[in-house]
Each structure stands twice: as structure tokens, then as C-alpha cells.
Amino acid sequence: MNGALLIDVLLAAGLVVLAGASLRARDLFTGVVTFMIFGLLMSLAWVRLAAPDLALAEAAIGSGITGALFLGAMRRLEESAPEVIAPAPERPPGANGRFALALGGIPLALYFAATALVPALLDGPSGLAEPVAAVLKESGAENPVTAIILNLRGYDTMLELVVLLLAWSGVCVLQGELGRTNIVPATGELAVLGAFVRFLRFPGVIVAGYLVWVGGAAPGGAFQAGAMLGGVGAVGLMAGGAIRPLYAGPGVRPVLVAGAGIFMIIGLLLSITAGAFLAYRGAQAKTLILIIEILSTLSIGLVLTLLFAACTFPPSPERPGEPVEGAP
């Protein structure tokens, strides 16, 4: 058995075990932490499958930000609904083993059945790589993944940004806008975290900028960079109110809609001048993609930070006399 295959087998087995452990964890905290480790192994699996774009997204969004959102939500549940996060009763012996067997066995059986019945699956055409390569030159991005995300299927990405906005609108409906939420102020005890945030701010922003820029030619892009900004924002929120102007200032709403907004404006302008929605080609495409990516990064970073804040900190009226929606 060669080394690479050994690593792949260990990785695949570890993924199945961690998925099972996360689903069957007796308390939510173990489940969430196992889910985060699952995400990290998953991003390694994407690297092994030669999909570094997905690996970056999985590590930053699937494991990092989602894990932070889960942990923040758990903290709220501890106060509001402790029965939800109480540990589940002990399972009968052997139940976990049978579950693991099913979890690993069913996909394996499906794989073998599929490859036995349809041998062409193993050496079939390699997806859309060739058609994308054919139009790559016109797309404004050298990285085929970015070409698909921001040009060939640009409207998908635009709608993803709208989904993020909708998620934030849902939070606002449920518990009021964050401008009225009191964030726990920094205390001396969290000075270490505060120093960490001050240290992280600069390289965090540099890395996010680098990810946006490099996205045109190599793995990277708005979602990974936005997740980076969101991570810095989330740690900043935990450290206290150090980044308050970022989430409670007057510029919050414009930045929130900037990504989806610029997408729509450019799309509509192009449907007038070029005859189709988001139909940018050639020289202008690179500039337009970069503008969209930068604004989207800011929007994604802010939405993720705000979602984390809304998950983690209970709403409380900031301006007296103004009712807070959804507050108990």
C-alpha cells in the first residue's frame, strides 16, 4: 500500500467516524466540536481531491464560521432553553456500532454497486473542465473556479449574497437590529483576547485582501476572504466592543447590501448595453469581477460578523423608550 493511498483511506475513515460521532454525540457541545473537526478533515479531503478552492471555503466557512455560529447559539441556549442542550440519555450497547456500520457501509455499497453496474462512471468524461477552459480567456479570470462563480454562473453567486442578506433580515425580525444590541464591553480579564485581536487585525485584513486578489488566478475569492473578515470580526466581538463602529455605525446598511447591490447594478447595466444580464466578456470582465469581489467580501465579512453577534449576545434595548422587536 503506498503512502498516499494510506492517507486517503485514513482520511475517509476519519470522516465517517467523525460524522457519526457528531450526529450521535450525547451533548450538543461535543457534537459541535466534532462537527468542526469534521470540517477540517473535510477540507483536507478536498485538498487530496485537488480542489483547493473548496478546501479553503470548507475550512473558513464550513468549519470556522459555522462552528463559531453554533457555539454562539449554544451559549444563548444555555440561558434560554437549558433542556435543549442537556445531554441525551445513554444509548443501548451496540447501537453506536450499528449506526457506524450503516453510516460507512451504505455509501461503500452504493459505490461498489454503481461502479459494477455502470463501469463508465470510473472513466467517464471529466465534467465541465473542457467547456470552461474553452471560454476561460473571455471570462476575465484565469482561475476556472472564479470564472464559473463570477462569470458563467454569476447569478448564482449574486443570489447567494441575497441569501446572506435574507438571513440577516430574519435575525433582525426575530430580535431587532444589532444597533440596539448591547455588546459586552471589554474587561480587563479579556485583555489577552483584546491584544490578540489588535495583533490579528492587520494580517487578517491583508490576508483577506490577498485572497480576493489572488482569486482571479488561483484558489481564493470573495467568500473565503469574507469568511476571514468575519472571523476577525467574531474574535473582535468576543474581546469586547473594540470594533463597535464597524457594526453599529451609519455605514452598516450600505456595506451589507454592497455585494448584492453592485452585482445587480452591473448586471442591469450590462443587460442594457450588452443585451444580457451580467454578460461581461473580455477586457472589462476582469475589472468588473474585481469590483464585485471586493464589495462582496466586505458584505460577507460584515454579515458573518453580525450573525455571530446576534447568535452570541442577547438583545437588550440600547436607546431607552424604543421597543426591541422579539425581546421577551
Binding site: 489577552v192 483576547l193 490578540f196 495583533f199 490579528l200 494580517p203
Partner: protein
């Protein structure tokens, strides 16, 4: 690539492997949260540090200075976050009432064959 170059690289990787292995054993075997944190941070600081050193040599050998810079940046970020996370975990452990492990007192043994009188 000169022979001594590879020797240094493999020595660095072996050192990294040693710290990762020692750290992993520490996490599994050490008696309490604080000692396990001590073991864990050795993986991040020294294990990753030696890996970064070995890979930086590779990057410098092929003349990619930017790659070296990126590797060092990764290590710096890992250092800072591991130190901060370690402090935060230890702090919340202490607050949750986890008392640090201390060596249990040596049993005050009686000489062999001595029987206590009722």
C-alpha cells in the same frame, strides 16, 4: 540539491515529527486540562515551527521568497492563536472549577511484613 541540504531538511522534519508525536501522546496521557494544553501548544509552536523551517528551506532553494514569507506568516498566526486559545481554555477551565492536578502524596508505606495491630 546538495546532500547536506536534504540532511538538514530531514532532521528538521524529524524534529517536527517528534514534537507532534510527543504532543499527541501528552494530550492522550496527561492527567488534567492544563497539562494537556501544555502538550498541545508544543505541537503548534515547535512541531509546526520545524515543518515551516523545513518547507522554507525548500522554498528558498527554488528561489520563491514570497512562499517563505507566507509560510512564516502562517506560523506566526498559528503561534499567536495557539497562545491565546490556550490561555482562554485554561481560564475558562479554572473558572469552571477544574483544579490543577497535583501528584498524589507518596503512600506512607509500612515495612514489608509488618502487620498493624488491631
Amino acid at each position: 540539491m546538495p546532500y547536506w541540504f536534504l540532511v538538514i531538511q530531514y532532521t528538521l522534519l524529524a524534529a517536527a515529527l517528534f514534537f507532534f508525536t510527543a504532543g499527541t501522546i501528552g494530550i492522550l496521557r496527561f492527567p488534567d486540562l492544563y497539562a494537556r494544553l501544555h502538550a498541545l501548544t508544543k505541537c503548534d509552536n515547535l512541531g509546526l515551527g520545524f515543518v515551516v523551517l523545513a518547507l522554507s528551506m525548500e522554498a528558498l532553494a527554488v528561489g520563491d521568497g514570497w512562499l517563505t514569507l507566507k509560510l512564516v506568516l502562517i506560523w506566526t498566526l498559528a503561534l499567536a492563536s495557539s497562545a491565546t486559545a490556550c490561555y482562554l481554555v485554561a481560564r475558562s477551565g479554572l473558572r469552571a472549577g477544574q483544579t490543577p492536578w497535583t501528584r498524589p502524596p507518596e503512600p506512607v508505606g509500612h515495612p514489608v511484613g509488618h502487620k498493624e495491630k488491631p
